[in-house]
Symmetry: C2
Subunit: 671 residues, 2 copies
């Protein structure tokens, strides 16, 4: 690459972009770890984007109508940190840049959204950024439909690398964005031909522009080092009604000895080579030092949006007071005040009608009363709408012509759906929930983990949550999935036993601000067990005494979801034999763990035999059986010990011995 030609043809641009390059090179070298080549290669694109197109106000990183910038190729984090430092972000200071990848720094190895306001997303697991960006763009369209383009009218820009595009989730994202005609979404592909193992051609020869075009994208191919070409391409992308992909031909580690090699992907730490690169770039400042003229130019870029931001405030102020309050409420992620009363009213009605329905149907009943009072919800399903019961009558369908619709047909794309929901939650102003079969949490897993890590309240509606699914068989029967979800930090896993518990679980899920929720719901009908109206949200305690022992308490049965009814029947059998038996419903372990010791002790006192009943594996239950005042000799489990089978649900419960009689026998064997 002819660096001299590049720098001489656009000398000002060159030095401004090279400020990014120098910071990336210095920070990675100081940390002796990281990824130098990508920020160096994409510095030109980033400079043009930030200085000529990106709508942002560095002094106000939480401006709701800012453009969103998502670094899907998260390993190039120094690109983002350099941009934030250069433009004057208050949190990403020079000290932070110098502390790149050190304990406690905001400048983590990969961008983490909770470490600085201006970091929109946590990226690094490849493909997640581009998949989340679809959710950002959906949220923008939905909010624009709701609050008009005077209040919401911005773009979502993404930098994606070859890795992002090789990950399967990118296809789900591309197809969904194309189908939804998300015209405010612009993806830059860092087309540098290099992956960690070597040239891209080692593992891929996909014609990416053709692939994007096949899903209805506007596609351009440019020299990613030519500022005028970059500028023109962004302008064209914004003008086109389709989502846009700009293939930017770049040189990884441009101007460095490692240019155009897989070595250039990683940490460039050779002092001599780095010095030579800086010399080639025409960069003579000391490490971490930015010449004043360049820094002040960048700070002007950071301040460029201040006027637009103020004008936006003025436009917002012209809305009615109610509309302003509603905008503030939804952007803050606050549930409406009447949510609590609405849930209580539903619970009262349930105590009267005592429906016998599947909890997936219970969930629909709850959504039927919630969705009308929470216009921020956006529902959807990965092609199982009628099975997940996620669509309520009032929602309408979100589509190109109906952006006020609130239901999304995600297609058979569990992973893309989960990631898109994360993007919506991160964008703010909407509250996404989406459904699939619980077993297919497997597909959504990388995004579900990222919801937890990013501290966002995405709601995963996972139906058909056990062998109760029946004939579809072991490929569709979750066995280990409760354990998987419970093992994930910062995740509330609800498995409600009836409609009342389902309502309470939804209330909790919809009032979270930093924790995702998983609702594991049954396919099969379940009786109402909470037959008395209680104002208090009992699920909020995680576990509670559903039915106490009559006479001397000899046994405690712990169960969740569809097995609570089995535990209740087992209790009848045991009580008939004079064995005092308590049933504890444990719809949410995480919330039960959060209760104080005194409460947990009241629910799970030492002494009685304990049997847990759950149509999943035992993994994790020992904490409640043996721990918490329990005793090894007095703890037993009735549930699954391996994969399920294909047969009608009742036959499976019998076959695998998850029955009231088996529970009663287990208790008696330990008395």
């Amino acid at each position: 690459m002819d660096i001299a030609a590049l720098s001489s043809s656009h000398p000002d641009h060159w030095m401004r972009a090279t400020a990014i390059r120098a910071l990336a090179l210095d920070a990675v070298a100081a940390a002796n770890s990281g990824h130098s080549g990508m920020p160096i290669g994409m510095a030109d694109v980033a400079t043009v984007l930030y200085s000529r197109h990106l709508k942002f106000d560095a002094a106000r990183p939480d401006w709701p109508d800012r453009d969103r910038f998502i670094l899907s190729a998260g390993h190039g984090s120094m690109l983002l940190y350099a941009l934030l430092y250069l433009t004057g972000d208050a949190e990403i200071t020079l000290d932070e840049v110098k502390n790149f990848r050190q304990l406690g720094a905001r400048t983590a190895g990969h961008p983490e959204n909770f470490l600085a306001t201006a970091i929109e997303t946590t990226t690094g697991p490849l493909g997640q950024g581009i998949a989340m960006s679809v959710g950002f763009a959906i949220a923008e369209e939905a909010l624009r439909a709701r609050f008009t383009s005077k209040i919401i009218d911005h773009h979502t820009y993404v930098i994606a690398g070859d890795g992002c595009l090789m990950e399967g989730v990118s296809q789900e994202a591309i197809a969904l964005a194309g189908r939804q005609e998300l015209g405010h979404l612009v993806v830059f592909w860092d087309n540098n031909n290099i992956t960690i193992d070597g040239k891209v051609s080692l593992s891929d020869r996909t014609n990416q522009p053709q692939r994007f075009a096949a899903s209805g994208w506007h596609v351009q191919e440019i020299d990613g080092h030519d500022p005028e070409a970059i500028d023109a391409a962004i302008a064209a992308a914004k003008a086109d009604p389709r989502p846009s992909m700009i293939a930017c031909k770049t040189h990884i580690a441009l101007g460095h000895a490692a240019q155009d090699s897989s070595k250039g992907h990683g940490a460039l730490t050779d002092g001599d080579q780095n010095a030579a690169a800086k010399a080639a770039w025409g960069w003579s400042a000391a490490p971490f030092e930015i010449p004043a003229d360049i820094k002040s130019w960048w700070e002007e870029v950071g301040a460029r949006g201040a006027a637009a931001s103020a004008e936006w405030d003025a436009r917002l102020a012209k809305l009615s007071g109610n509309k302003q309050a509603e905008f503030a409420r939804t952007m803050a992620g606050e549930a409406p005040k009447k949510l609590s009363a609405t849930i209580k009213a539903l619970k009262k009605q349930l105590a009267e009608t005592q429906p016998k329905v599947a909890t997936r149907k219970s969930s629909e009943m709850v959504l039927e009363v919630i969705n009308p009072i929470m216009p921020e919800t956006i529902g959807g399903s990965a092609d199982l709408t009628g099975s997940n019961n996620t669509k309520t009558a009032d929602l309408g369908v979100f589509d190109a012509e109906t952006r006020d619709g609130r239901y999304i047909y995600y297609g058979i794309r569990e992973h893309g759906m989960a990631a898109a929901m994360n993007g919506m939650a991160l964008h703010g102003g909407v509250r996404p929930y989406g459904g699939t079969f619980f077993c297919f949490t497997d597909y959504a897993r990388p995004a579900m983990r990222l919801a937890a890590l990013q501290k966002i309240p995405t709601v995963f509606v996972m139906t058909h949550d056990s062998i109760g699914l029946g004939e579809d068989g072991p490929t569709h029967q979750p066995i280990e999935h409760l354990a998987i979800c419970r093992a994930t930090p910062n995740t509330l896993v609800f498995r409600p036993a009836d409609t009342t518990e389902t309502a309470e679980a939804w209330e909790i899920a919809l009032t979270q601000d930093a924790t995702p929720s998983v609702l594991a719901l049954s396919r099969q009908n379940l009786p109402t067990l909470r037959t008395e109206m209680k104002t208090k949200n009992l699920v909020a305690q995680g576990g509670y005494v559903l039915a106490d022992a009559e006479g001397k308490r000899q046994a405690i049965l712990m169960a969740t979801g569809s097995e609570v009814a089995i535990a209740m029947e087992a209790r009848d059998l045991l009580q008939a034999e004079g064995i005092g038996t308590r049933v504890v419903s444990m719809p949410c372990w995480e919330l039960f763990e959060d209760q104080d010791e005194a409460y947990r002790k009241r629910v799970l006192p030492g002494g009685p035999v304990r049997v847990a009943v759950e149509a999943g594996i035992r993994f994790g239950w020992d904490r409640w059986l043996y721990g918490e005042r329990g005793k090894r000799e007095k703890g037993g489990f009735v549930g699954m010990h391996g994969f399920g089978a294909s047969a009608p649900s009742d036959a499976l419960y019998d076959h695998f011995g998850i029955t009231p009689a088996a529970v009663a026998e287990k208790v008696k064997s330990m008395l």
Copy 2:
């Protein structure tokens, strides 16, 4: 659709294909559950494929050189069962068809490979079939290179639906197959425009032929009900050197009232409608009855390959005795006899040299001695070759021109890699292993579960297995992933502590025939802890006493992987204070569980304080702390309690308190 025109233009074909339709309709109606429409829609394609192209011998479903047929759209399982019954498969009898989806039947809701020899794969989770098919095709190429086309020369045929193509993993599969120019792979796309939620256009408008073409596939578009067009397309697909996709325009539930509707996707159980459909088809036989002429035609189809199969035997018999034995050994999945001696020799050398290396490097050292004696291994990595240490000097690279190469650059496609490896393992004759970062088991998870469910010995080499990964931060640091893998039935999860344990783990993994293995390996260097040569494979016991207490045994430390060294240092601290401390290395919980009670009791006697040390979450450890003669008051854990952070590895171990001093303190707090 003009059924009369279809039936009159190819009357014989029509009735033969309709035999499939009738069986599917009858079986689903009898089960009152299942998917009628897909078998009805794809019956013409299947009939032409089986009768004119598929190389198979119904009497010999395990003929190694048979063509493979993979029903990626696994919900259409009755298509497969009908074909097997009609062609005379010994296991899928008429009784089995009548017992569709009932407990104990071979005719499960979705095809399960272990229920009948002729069922090649377990499918149902969408996209898995097409992704596994890439592995089948790779295995075929590799074996052809090794044993010549006289012995191995067959095709892999796949039926995929819209769901398969919407799943992201399909993109990974398509791109990998295109890159590898897998010309013996032919995918039929059941292009029926219908998904569960409605028309495909609700959620997708992707031009699928264009998308396949973008990755180098040969693409054709045909009327999927025209037998001559189907025949010609298959012939053209076989003639083309590229992988082929045949877009078959079909009508789901052809001729039924539910034709071309999402209702047609599911179970068609309305008696009148079903009778009307049969009338429209011109089918007058009783339920489950196949007219003799049609059945005998299909049985001739099933017998057509008998001659070819016998000729193949003759060709095999002409190979040298050694070659025949080697072919038999690898197809049977048997490890070579010298594996055991090779591992022992390595262990002897390790006891002498006591290397201090990361276990990912240990793994490479083991592979360096294994790969030369196991020509059936096929290694690879999802673009982390240098980090996963999966490539040894002798392997060569598998590519279009070098099919004898045994290393695959999978690209950034963890899911596609895992599924392809499953396909290879199912094909037989090769033994796949592949690597990525342990955290990205998340991406591979649906395929890892399917390895366990399918009872195949895929080996997942998962490096960078804890916060020891360091600066890349929490997105890349597995915390809950040991729990996730351990929670999965039929999976051996190894976390070796040093090179010797790594060697023993590999020996076990490579001698499995029905269980996948996960090797969780460290990024950071670890000391040799097994300093004495022991002939016995201690890892095979799952857990064992690495260092016993000196003096009175007051504490037992249990640890895995990189934390065993920390436990050993903690033991030194405790012993120095006179606290007799045993260290138990537990590299494989599942194998330890399999030991008899007496052995487990010797390793974990009741009495002493127990502390588990693992740089993951506690989830699951209570079994060993409180269970197995343990006591709640005397069990403690040192490990992670949430997500990690971005910092150098040592700083993280200190920050999260996973240190010898912390372990010693934990012990003393409970004495």
